[in-house]
Symmetry: D2
Amino acid sequence: MAPSAVVRVSPNVGVIGASGYTGIELTRLLARHPTLRLAVASSERWVGEAVAARGGGASDVRYAAVDDAMARASELALVFLATPAELSHQLAPRLVAAGTRVIDLSGAFRLRDAAIYPARYGFAHAHASLLADAVYGLPERDRERIAGARLVANPGCYATAIVLALAPIVHAVAPGRRVFVSAGSGVSGAGRSATEDKSFVEVYGDARAYRVLRHQHDPEIEQATSARIAFVPHLLPIARGILATCCIERAPGVAARAIDDALATAYGREPFVELARSAEDVGLRDVVGTNRCRIGVAHGDDATTIIVAAIDNLVKGAAGQAIQNANLMLGLDETAGLADLAPHHP
Amino acid sequence: MAPSAVVRVSPNVGVIGASGYTGIELTRLLARHPTLRLAVASSERWVGEAVAARGGGASDVRYAAVDDAMARASELALVFLATPAELSHQLAPRLVAAGTRVIDLSGAFRLRDAAIYPARYGFAHAHASLLADAVYGLPERDRERIAGARLVANPGCYATAIVLALAPIVHAVAPGRRVFVSAGSGVSGAGRSATEDKSFVEVYGDARAYRVLRHQHDPEIEQATSARIAFVPHLLPIARGILATCCIERAPGVAARAIDDALATAYGREPFVELARSAEDVGLRDVVGTNRCRIGVAHGDDATTIIVAAIDNLVKGAAGQAIQNANLMLGLDETAGLADLAPHHP
Amino acid sequence: MAPSAVVRVSPNVGVIGASGYTGIELTRLLARHPTLRLAVASSERWVGEAVAARGGGASDVRYAAVDDAMARASELALVFLATPAELSHQLAPRLVAAGTRVIDLSGAFRLRDAAIYPARYGFAHAHASLLADAVYGLPERDRERIAGARLVANPGCYATAIVLALAPIVHAVAPGRRVFVSAGSGVSGAGRSATEDKSFVEVYGDARAYRVLRHQHDPEIEQATSARIAFVPHLLPIARGILATCCIERAPGVAARAIDDALATAYGREPFVELARSAEDVGLRDVVGTNRCRIGVAHGDDATTIIVAAIDNLVKGAAGQAIQNANLMLGLDETAGLADLAPHHP
Amino acid sequence: MAPSAVVRVSPNVGVIGASGYTGIELTRLLARHPTLRLAVASSERWVGEAVAARGGGASDVRYAAVDDAMARASELALVFLATPAELSHQLAPRLVAAGTRVIDLSGAFRLRDAAIYPARYGFAHAHASLLADAVYGLPERDRERIAGARLVANPGCYATAIVLALAPIVHAVAPGRRVFVSAGSGVSGAGRSATEDKSFVEVYGDARAYRVLRHQHDPEIEQATSARIAFVPHLLPIARGILATCCIERAPGVAARAIDDALATAYGREPFVELARSAEDVGLRDVVGTNRCRIGVAHGDDATTIIVAAIDNLVKGAAGQAIQNANLMLGLDETAGLADLAPHHP
């Protein structure tokens, strides 16, 4: 498929798993996309209903069952899998085999080492060659390989914020030192299933750490940054947003200024990475609703540096980044449908 | 004043600065205290109103102007200063000179090194000998000196959580390593003044770091623990509570178990420190409304250990701890008026 | 059992259904009660765990299975049923038959007309004589009959606020006119079960009406006030609290002042009803955490009057009022264990 | 200016008062508008800063002082006044005199009766003929006059929701009866000034009525509907959204079905009014972020009918509706720049 041809028509795309929070966000972003056209959407709970009624725009598409949606994949230029990792692990190979390009928003194809899957994702990985073929979809790091990929593994939400914060400066970390990362996430990051620990009364006014030093994004972050991290995620009483606070000790001889310069070099021209004046100038209200990652830095009196990054977990941390990847894969302007997203605040 | 005599009567106490969030909490805790009797309360904004109307219980006390309240200090067994640091710095010496014992809830007498005050608190310290005489009021660390003190410097809210988490295990930190501490606080910790950055619309749905590596509690924590810390506080969109997540690298040869044992030894019999089963089992909902500090631990595969501590910033982090100190100073049961505080959750 | 004798010992009481939000609140209030002693608590989910670990104070009681708890009822002066209505409907007759006095916090014994139960509560009522014998437990309206009751039907949370607001002034409503009541409630009023509509992400930032003109409290309110009401409850994105806004048209010749006077007469000496200066001076933050109902009034230029009432749904709307009723039934000071509850705000 | 000509170029527009919450929303909506071009924006606090840095899109416009912005009005096809009523009252006549069309988002030109201004808005109205000339800008009620207006008075946020709910059915209200309206609003509706009653800690977990029976929108609603209302607004602990619950008694002989039919007739083809299946099916999460008003109805057993309406106070209740009006005034598609706004939820 020649990208130059794609621009002239509206490529048809599909969303499998369109009723989770990520799937809803995807259909809404597609509804306002200037070029991409949502042609197929699957949702078991809403089969037969109009996507438009859920904010999916003026489209006349109706939710289909997964099997019916999969049967139409060959009509599509690209399919987004907004499905649990184990289901993505089943569906992606079928789509790729049928010649349909895939962006998988789960973790099923993010880790190069298949052996990690049983412990972190609860299933054995059966598609080693496709895993090797998949491209980790962080455009700011690997835009060209994404453009040519058959299967893009869209990064995890925490991983997006943390890898963007650390990748340009990880070489400056003192040898042998871990990078400590403390992050907070809104509850939408935990998905839509109704469980007591996600119920309003339990979360309201609370804040607590979870999966301390054992989150499934740990290996993804370490793979993408080559840093050794100690990661503590926290659940915050908000719906959306991730704020990641990273603490490094700089290697001897690395000046604070070198960190600032590395970030400026990496992101000075990136459309979706904003460098703030300071670590304090980075908050969820600056990014929620947008596809932006906002990054700020503070340096201590000695070799300590703090890097804070904020994203909207459902946009830059999931559906927005998937659109950004789709734009790259289909030869569109990378910012199409994303540049004019306004923050939800106030 | 012989403590043994005090138990038989109800000691009269006063609160200067009774209309800030800490002052309100103090008057409420005093209203339900079995022994202490609130006799004087000052508030410029509510002069002449009944303390009882603000939740201060069945007392018939009315708010007075500061000068009127100070003039009655000699009637009182103890005065709580819930005033800004610079005002406490003026008032505490007058009270002590008049023979009235003082618990100061500001930072005015917490730091042994007077030279730190201009940079961190914005004023030069003029009372070096009283500073030297003041006792840092963390009962779990220094209960006996508190009992005999003329002036107790009640710890800061962040410091309370972090010092309790770190003090028993700081000897186990790898030499030369900083302890990274990422903490979140409810907005009541920032006081009552109306500023745009504390307005509802600005804070709702937001989370952000502030005073990164330059919070005024930094020297207090380092003084109390002898640890070198890198501290990043965050403002969370809740009213109450502090959650502090501390990351250490253990010294060579220090087993994970040694950390657990040190905490169990330190706190096994403490009435207001709870050791949780895990780092995940520590949340604001467990402690908000109570005088408890809840602490949990997670160990990584290597030498990394995470210690999480939670408190209510207005209770164990301020007014409740002040009552605990007053109980010690006046020879009462240390838990009087505090043991039966129920969590606000649900 | 002579009330006068009861005061001298600590009556043993039990809570059946102690792990719902109301049941937890009850065990906490009992833990701080000066006289009542929690001797039995049932919870299927926490069998064998210590009640104290859930905030239930210093008690050494452990949660038992319902059957085990019921088997010990004869040891108890009183049992609180914090169970669903259908289960209360089964258990209350057994307890009363065994000579144990009962406060039922469900709706199972609130409605005098048994015929209403199938439609509103989903079961046919099989205990007509006990229903006739039950006393509606709103102390401000019927304190003497409560004191002598074998079975008290503790009012619903909405009903408590609305009946307290309307009962003293319902005679002043223009003949034939409905009283419109719009109320909002925190999510804890909907109980603890995990359902998607009570999940954090769905409720956060939302507000919506539910059971419009068909809430199960409608007949209870009409029975208790003799008013005809049009009741619209709303779910608010908070954990606790009910705010009820009632609109009446006054009958010809009834002055605004007569409404104020009727409320002052009714509640001037009530320990748990506060009359505010205005309708605007009544908010959840004034009452959440306390056993108080706060009421304020506004009058329009013509015959319109607005009465606003606020309570904590789990305290005055459930567990606190149940303690108030127990105090009356057991001859204790009606305010015992309740007077010194401080507001959760700030 | 011929509307047909306008479509071919991008009309330049200005926003005076661009740093309030409404002004920010306006600049963001303009940034994503397909045709309108923000050429001038005034803000005293941000003079010289780029509008784009506040989410105002790719524009190269910088904030100017009010006077500088006013001086450029003659270049503009239309000016939005997002200023306080008293300032709009001064500026609008100058703009109209200069031949610039105006949409005023304050209340300064909404009321036909100038005599009401001193009591409700705190100033005497000095521009009676312009007041008479101004068109009340609710497109669903008066689209054609808006298209030709020189000055449009953009409706108040509460008024938008309530007038849309009531206007089609007010003829069905029983003669002589008031319509009771209870509504809740997010705090952004109260503007941006920092006051203690809008501070996070004071609002969090609270809900309370304000300006009961004396809100400045009362006469606006009565003017637009010819209904007599009793209006009680409430402040809710959320940032955005208005939910209005209206209670009517139907006139004798008016069937419930007639209400449903009247709403369907009025709004069946409206792009921004959604009729929900029921009163319960209307929540803030359905509309916040969009320009929609969602309306649902419940009928009681007798003549009582409840109509619930929800909007985003900053969009359909302010900036979005202003864009809708501008589209009409400038001959554009009425939905331009508004149709694809996605809800903020989840």
